[in-house]
Amino acid sequence: MSYIVDRRLNARNKSTVNRQRFLRRYRQQIKRAVDSAVSDRSIKDIDRGEQVGLPREDMGEPVFRHGQGGIRNTIYPGNKEFAAGDRVERPSGGSGGGNASQDGEGDDEFIFQISQNEFLNVIFDELALPDLVRKSLQDIDAYKLVQGGFSNEGIPARLNVLRTMRSAQSRRLALSGGARRRLKEIEALLLEDDARSDPQYPLWLTERDRLKRRVSSIPFLDDFDLKYNLQLKQPIPSNQAVMFCVMDVSGSMDQARKDIAKRFFILLYLFLQRSYEKTEVVFIRHHTSAMEVDENAFFYSRETGGTIVSSALVLIDEIIKERYPPAQWNLYTAQASDGDNWQADSPRCSKILQESLLPLMNYYAYIEITPAAHQDLWLEYEKLLPAFPRNFALRQVEQAADIFMVFKDLFQRRKA
């Protein structure tokens, strides 16, 4: 006697909890892998899973076992030319010294894949995002249900009564119309005075009964009369956004600061990507003059010299006019700098922002990556805050966890 059970629909992820425990246990190592992935990856590429390699010895589960040496006998299969008493060289390099792990495929490393969510989680951990924001960044739930005609199948709650009754009525008419007409005729005949004497009278009676049965056997409602409202999943109409990344690349911005800046850009990018169907990124770097560059040059080339921020703002303005008409694009800017600016330039920046950029921008976020006191640029920017409380944010940042505060308003507004 055997029982056959279909378990395919049972929960698949029995191991999820164990997996999470494993990830938590090796959090530090995984974080290192994610960190290096963040600095290596392009911003647009940020939201995938990642392959993580951990050194095997870090995660061993030790047991008592035999070590090397001693006297051992081992039986092997497939003898070809050996005779009893033969002596052979020890195979060299057979044991010890695992394979190198350049391509991440060696024996010394434990390689596994973390999912996109897990990857983002690690990044967000450092950014200290509130849970709600985390969730909205991870979930792609931009669908809504819309009325999309009618269907013959559905759940009772979606029954369309009007359509159902209409269809039932037409079915009844179609199926019983002829019979009813004939019935009326016969009943009229039966009512005539000399009906009873007509030789056909008994035939009429039986036909009348038959027709009555026929008509009453047609159900008032049948399964296929039922009509349901059909709901379609439709992506929420979203449009396009462009994100300007502006960074000061003068000599004072070292790699550590650029890494913080990169996380700042990533966060805005992830937000935009979730909110808009199409997101474009424009990288503008500047020292004394500004230039549109590709991502690699943006993060990894070093320049020296002074700093004139306004050059970048002017360039943004030009690019907007040329390529991104504000009527069609949502405009976002993320600017990162160490706060240095040529003194006379700061009022000019403020003026450009106030007059041409901020009125167009959905959001303009500025971070100053420095532990030092504020300088001119910050002070000038600060004056603009009261005029643009909803789409302008600035923040002094010393570590990655401070970044989120710049976007606080942005994420809050989205919830509303």
């Binding site: 006697m1 055997s2 029982y3 056959i4 059970v5 279909d6 378990r7 395919r8 049972n10 698949r12 992820n13 029995k14 191991s15 909890v17 164990n18 997996r19 999470q20 425990r21 494993f22 990830l23 938590r24 246990r25 995660m59 061993g60 589960e61 030790p62 047991v63 008592f64 076992r65 035999h66 070590g67 090397q68 040496g69 001693g70 006297i71 051992r72 006998n73 081992t74 039986i75 092997y76 299969p77 497939g78 003898n79 070809k80 050996f82 005779a83 009893a84 008493g85 033969d86 002596r87 052979v88 060289e89 020890r90 434990f110 390689i111 596994f112 894949q113």
Partner: protein
């Protein structure tokens, strides 16, 4: 005979599985296979990976190491480095077998013959399984274990439980009774018993560690008696009963881990036999199906291809070589026993006077029931199998510069190879022999383990890490001494100062 094919295509359906199971079951009954009822569960590949990760336990407690195992399997599977097994079978009553959705009809039939009739009858018949595992209550017990550990995690926090489990797992292989027999309990009984145990155990431990002299004034001199009176091989049992400072819930978890170790102990001792038996029967049963013309040639060709892959044994110098394939060895021996019974040669009569020419079914049954890998090989490995597999022995003596081929598959070598191969499957040779030697009850409460060295093989460096885990459980100094010919040759320790 007119063909009466059960199926002709490669797609399986539940109805076909049922019909194959019935057909195979009838033939198996004809051969006298005694099985538990079968519960065949169809699962998907992800679920198979889950099952892998939990060592085939259908219900397992949560632990990071299973997560690691899962990631490992998943990665290998995705890279294509590993195919998943076609089935996993669980020693329980009813006997649960997992079949993968991806298998073709032929593979499902092979798996049914292999797992549901082969392994199943082995679980029910072999003396080790009969003595050590309780097929009726194992699922209950695993459920109890899972719930209990989840409860502990709630009360004590996940990290505390996880650390304890880490330590227990490190000693898991030393958590088995090799001779004493455990007694089976169901879930409810186990729960009740557990509560009683918690109270009783603490009292026992307290008695052992009582330092106030009794009013009687009569006490055995501890130096004379010593504790434990006999060396104890079951380290986890010893810790559960005697560790001074463990909380009751900690003792219970130690017990759970050793119970599960005990449950798997017979499987570790019968790999060759178990797989050999199952492979022999899927081969025999499927051929009987073919002889009855219940399956067609296409089915048979696919079956033989899969069967050949299962019993493929790469030679020692092949890049695919990774030890002796237990399926190959087991299948070859089972087939050979049948041959010795049915068509004995003069050589067989010389080597196996008792079984040559006897009833093969009875002999095979006897072998399945009363042996484990080591004794099975020692008893039944014939010169023919040694020749067929071209077995030879390599003697690796660290004091010599060269390896010696001490024996090969010839008249002079058969018996030696048989004994050497048998001892290769003896668990006590594969794992270092370590036992609890003594506890300093009156002094610093230190625990001393003794490793009895064999063949000059020293302990792996990892032992230091294991001592740390042991220390976490014992909570006083732990020592490990290696003894060779009665003298202590090395000593390592993990003391309170190291922590």
């Amino acid at each position: 005979m007119k063909p009466n094919y059960i199926s002709e295509g490669s797609e399986w359906t539940f109805e076909l599985i049922e019909r194959y199971d019935q057909a195979i079951g009838e033939i198996a009954a004809g051969f006298g296979l005694d099985t538990y009822p079968n519960q065949i569960e169809i699962i998907r590949s992800e679920q198979m990976m889950d099952a892998y990760a939990s060592a085939g336990m259908p219900i397992g407690y949560q632990h990071w190491s299973y997560g690691k195992q899962f990631l490992n399997v998943e990665q290998d599977y995705r890279r294509g480095a590993m195919g998943l097994a076609y089935e996993i079978v669980i020693n329980s009553n009813p006997c649960i077998a997992y079949l993968m959705e991806e298998n073709t009809m032929t593979m499902q039939a092979l798996v049914i013959a292999h797992a549901c009739y082969g392994h199943n009858s082995f679980f029910k018949g072999n003396y080790l399984f009969r003595a050590w595992t309780e097929a009726d209550s194992i699922i209950d017990y695993l459920l109890f274990a899972k719930n209990y550990i989840a409860e502990c995690e709630e009360r004590q926090g996940v990290p505390a439980v996880e650390r304890l489990l880490d330590s227990c797992h490190a000693l898991m292989n030393y958590g088995v009774d090799r001779y004493k027999r455990p007694c089976p309990l169901s879930f409810e009984e186990e729960k009740l018993a557990q509560q009683e145990r918690a109270a009783y155990r603490q009292q026992q431990v307290n008695d052992l560690w009582r330092t106030i002299p009794t009013s009687e004034g009569f006490e055995l001199e501890p130096a004379l008696v010593g504790f434990p009176p006999e060396p104890e091989e079951n380290l986890l049992y010893f810790i559960e009963k005697n560790a001074p400072n463990l909380e009751p819930w900690e003792r219970e978890i130690v017990r759970i881990v050793r119970k599960i170790a005990q449950y798997f102990y017979p499987q570790r001792q019968t790999q060759v036999m178990n797989e050999g038996w199952a492979t022999f029967w899927h081969y025999t049963l499927t051929n009987a199906l073919y002889d009855q013309r219940r399956v067609n040639d296409g089915f048979m060709l696919e079956f033989l291809r899969a069967h050949a892959a299962v019993i493929y044994q790469p030679a020692f110098d092949s890049p695919h070589f990774s030890g002796i394939n237990v399926y190959t060895l087991g299948f070859a021996m089972m087939q050979d026993i049948r041959r010795i019974c049915e068509q004995p040669t003069a050589e067989d009569k010389a080597y196996f006077p008792d079984i040559a020419g006897s009833d093969w079914l009875a002999t095979l049954n006897y072998a399945m029931r009363n042996f484990r890998d080591e004794s099975f090989i020692e008893q039944f490995l014939s010169p023919k199998v040694i020749r067929d597999l071209a077995l030879f022995n390599v003697l690796d003596n660290e004091h010599q510069t060269k390896l010696e081929i001490s024996d090969i598959h010839d008249e002079a070598g058969y018996r030696a190879i048989r004994s050497l191969l048998a001892s290769q499957y003896d668990l006590s040779n594969r794992e270092p022999n370590i036992q609890v030697q003594k506890v300093d009850i009156k002094g610093d409460r230190s625990l001393t383990l003794r490793h009895i060295q064999a063949h000059g093989i020293s302990l792996h460096d990892e032992s230091k890490e294991v001592l740390k885990h042991l220390h976490r459980l014992w909570q006083f100094d732990v020592h490990l001494e290696t003894v060779c010919d009665g003298t202590v040759i090395t000593h390592q320790a993990y003391t309170n100062n190291d922590g």
